[in-house]
Symmetry: D2
Subunit: 342 residues, 4 copies
Amino acid sequence: MAAMNNPSKIGVGVIGAGRIGQLHIEHIAQNIPEAELIAICGLNISDAESLAEQFNVPIVTTDYAPLLTNPRIDAVLVASSTDTHVEISQAAAKAGKHIFCEKPIALDLQQIDETLAIVEAAGVKFQIGFNRRFDASFSRVREAIAGGEIGEPHILRITSRDPAPPPIEYVKVSGGIFLDMTIHDFDMARYLIGDEVVEVYATGGVRVDPRIGKAGDIDTAVITLKFQNGVIGTIDNSREAVYGYDQRVEVFGSKGMVTAANPPTDTVTFSGHNGTRAASPPYFFIERYKPAYLAELQAFFTCIQEDTTPPVTGTDGRAPVVLGFAALKSLRENRPVLMSEI
Amino acid sequence: MAAMNNPSKIGVGVIGAGRIGQLHIEHIAQNIPEAELIAICGLNISDAESLAEQFNVPIVTTDYAPLLTNPRIDAVLVASSTDTHVEISQAAAKAGKHIFCEKPIALDLQQIDETLAIVEAAGVKFQIGFNRRFDASFSRVREAIAGGEIGEPHILRITSRDPAPPPIEYVKVSGGIFLDMTIHDFDMARYLIGDEVVEVYATGGVRVDPRIGKAGDIDTAVITLKFQNGVIGTIDNSREAVYGYDQRVEVFGSKGMVTAANPPTDTVTFSGHNGTRAASPPYFFIERYKPAYLAELQAFFTCIQEDTTPPVTGTDGRAPVVLGFAALKSLRENRPVLMSEI
Amino acid sequence: MAAMNNPSKIGVGVIGAGRIGQLHIEHIAQNIPEAELIAICGLNISDAESLAEQFNVPIVTTDYAPLLTNPRIDAVLVASSTDTHVEISQAAAKAGKHIFCEKPIALDLQQIDETLAIVEAAGVKFQIGFNRRFDASFSRVREAIAGGEIGEPHILRITSRDPAPPPIEYVKVSGGIFLDMTIHDFDMARYLIGDEVVEVYATGGVRVDPRIGKAGDIDTAVITLKFQNGVIGTIDNSREAVYGYDQRVEVFGSKGMVTAANPPTDTVTFSGHNGTRAASPPYFFIERYKPAYLAELQAFFTCIQEDTTPPVTGTDGRAPVVLGFAALKSLRENRPVLMSEI
Amino acid sequence: MAAMNNPSKIGVGVIGAGRIGQLHIEHIAQNIPEAELIAICGLNISDAESLAEQFNVPIVTTDYAPLLTNPRIDAVLVASSTDTHVEISQAAAKAGKHIFCEKPIALDLQQIDETLAIVEAAGVKFQIGFNRRFDASFSRVREAIAGGEIGEPHILRITSRDPAPPPIEYVKVSGGIFLDMTIHDFDMARYLIGDEVVEVYATGGVRVDPRIGKAGDIDTAVITLKFQNGVIGTIDNSREAVYGYDQRVEVFGSKGMVTAANPPTDTVTFSGHNGTRAASPPYFFIERYKPAYLAELQAFFTCIQEDTTPPVTGTDGRAPVVLGFAALKSLRENRPVLMSEI
């Protein structure tokens, strides 16, 4: 296996072999020549073994500890369940491993801050998995704004709707819609506007499935954001858009407006007695954001190679969690909540 | 002039010969065969005379009183300045004339209520000029919702941006953005959802022109509406969209989404080195809503002929004013305001 | 009726009170203040009288002769059946009346040439009713080409499909699809490219209705045009597009491409389980080209007032007829036909 | 390298390591788990070696013969220059290897027929590289037609324009535009309509680059096709569309129309003073058809595994060459040419 264990490549251990972990494994194995998969750690050992076999990964474990002591492993991807992110990230940082960690870092700000401090002390790279920033259309929108194409931004609109709600069991442990789903939109808002939110007003309800309400959550939400620079943003979320994954942004400014629409799954139209019919958007996040998931990993490995700051920092990982808490407080107290209150 | 003064036609007096008044005059003269223009009342007598000459209108005055005593006049169109609507409408109702009144009826709820009571007592038709309801696309959206095509509505989004701010002198007397501009969107929201708003949260700022701020108003606003039936709506407004008059709606529900986009001024695209370019939307309300302005008049004359309830009632004229007050209170107090507080 | 019989206005007689004649009457009465309708001549006298009453036209006849001797009539609109165009146009020219003549002038080149000579000798305006040139989108395409926006044009594509075939009785006397339907596209081709066709290749068949074949005509056609300047154009025609009137153009050149799509009847989209649905194009020519029909009349009266050359000349009326003959010859002989052969 | 040389996988040799060969190598290595790359044969040995290293391919040669005797190789991909396709395909068939051959098989019908006979006698799979059939949008259009969604097809339009002409040296040996470029469109026409062409009329010129004319070729073409079933098709080609690779189809039938537009490179629009701007199509065939190139290989390996007929047969490879000859004859003789004449 000549090409394997190539010391010129960045050795990688993937922790967590669920849907996102598998996607990362596939991308590293097939599309990122500068990285080499050394180990997969997964709770379900037979799944992990099958992935290892498919992608020629030499080490398979159910315990992440051996990855952190393996000198061939330079970086870990933390794609395990949210409640393990802090422990693994902190241990990995102490072991001198670079870290790519799925969002959210944690649902506890003290734990996040502790982790950021440890990571900083260790001097390792720490990138958060806000994949949507790497979508070609959204990053083009960001460029347009940063490049002054729309002048000063005034109004931001984000539409973010899932095609179907997650299982109720997941809803119960997800941290709620704001920390599970809107967190991506909070990040997108900060990314597009390039500024910090100072106040949040959230409202919502249970319109999709009463079981979500019984689980203490909502499934439909509209959030208003006020930025330091005066931009006003709104986000609307639903757990069920029957026409597919709906992910659009619009930024309006003094010199124009820039938007990103849903990509069509094909470009076919049919015209008949009842008008013209076009395709739906891609079904869900894997279909829609696969290239973005790859691009975020490429950026991570590039910043290791070039020793630069990751494009999504620990601070970027922390801010949307704070926004989630603010939104939740706003929803409960039915009033705008200052970020300084959290 | 054989066809003139035809008693089988509805005799009409138009009060106010500004931009909207002129449009109504043109429409009645050219496109509404069942109505006949008997009189034009305008403060600027030479303008009014020139219109009268152009459209063969026999009577021209600067005072509306003679119109109300003219037995040949069955209906008046009140397109004079807002501060005259109440006096004229009340007098017209007492004189037994049907009334088409531009929005808003007034900026004072007591005056509105008094007017509605007088109109009701008089038994005359009273239609409010919320022209956008008669736009082919928006009325098709309403039909789709009323017909259950999107199931239960969950989220409403209205984008409503003017191409350029009005003169500062107008801003000072307009009643503010919520009562001058958003009022149309409040009406659209009620029309599309077919339900009443119970709570309003408004935020905004001065982003377009500091003189608007000095005049005590804002020029950029985002308003969140909660409806009795659980729908959450947002409206965003700007006084200046450099790409033209931006008037879009989107309603999302349990079975799908219905949207109305801006109509293009032409269907031409140009593809070159820098992508593909398409036309802007129509410049402003006259260009965009001319057919809707005609359709609302046709509906008014039809309801006179068929003795039915006008499609936009006095109640429909009152509700958006209340919403405007609630929005203003919300903006000032930075909190959601219940409609029951107004 | 003070404003009537106003000598400062261009007095107009409309000859032919069918669908197009009625549209012209309505437009002159309502939208062209510089013209005044003096007379309507229609074979069906009760229809003509009813139009005259509706639009206050003093004279109604079944014979066009009195119109030509009426000193108050400056111009005639010839919207009668094709076989009368030559006789009426020649008589009108000799009477010194300006002429707006529906297409085609005639189906006989000698008659056309004779008519053009008489018109020229008389020094009256003679405009042909190729209304589509006045469509906002098509004229914008022409401007783009004339202004060099696409560089040198290389390829032209015209799609022109009716929503439903005409009655078989009409098909029999129509002169065939090339002279009845494609004639508009031949004119559009010359208009957009601003050059003359040198060769035509036509092919087609009977796909829509076998009765059209029995009547000696085809209902589906594809025509290739070679222009003097090297542009190659194709036109495709069908007598039945179930989704509505389909009228599109595309011109491709060295610096880009310009297209004009069908205008939507509304801008509403509905997204559901089966993709996204948008509106059909307008049903047929009246719905689609009403503004173009008005614009061509406005241009006609302007060129009378300003004594300029009409935007669609007699030569422009002749050329598409020659193209129609060439196409017919090409179809019959199944070979490209040079225009010099006709 | 445990997973390598896995006898349960289809062993593959790729002959030709140019642009398309490299794409096939990448796809097999990364995306087709049922196939294993055993050998790369390339004229440029250092390029081939570098590919072999990158993708862990054990054998590298400049001579294809060893591939045909290698028992581990079950199938070869022929992506070498066109003039070698016949020799290699025939040798591979005689060696019992399945063959995926890039288009065209040859520019000589006798050689093609000989090859098809040898392949058939050998009983190996023989698939031709008409990749566009595997484009998601075009295959959806084919499904719509085959499924009767547009009723009986009447008119076909194919637009196929390259972003920039190939080098003049390539033009000289390419066989001409019809056999190099239009060949794909001929295949697309047969694929979409599911029927055979009976007559071809071709016209064209030199509009893009006079050197192409000097090389005896044209760079702009419009071709009319008549199908056995009565469908009339047109293809238009240009060697230079400055806005990018333009690949669209439209099929019109008795019950409606189905179209496939260019996919946008992103879904971003910018609205400003000069209208709304959207992205260009992908630059060229690699960018546009990468997923189609993968899908055709997947189909090839599936038909080996399941022992079914390839989706693009030798006959499908032959027909467009005959169409190319007919088009050339038509262009030279300026008349429609029957397929039976070739």
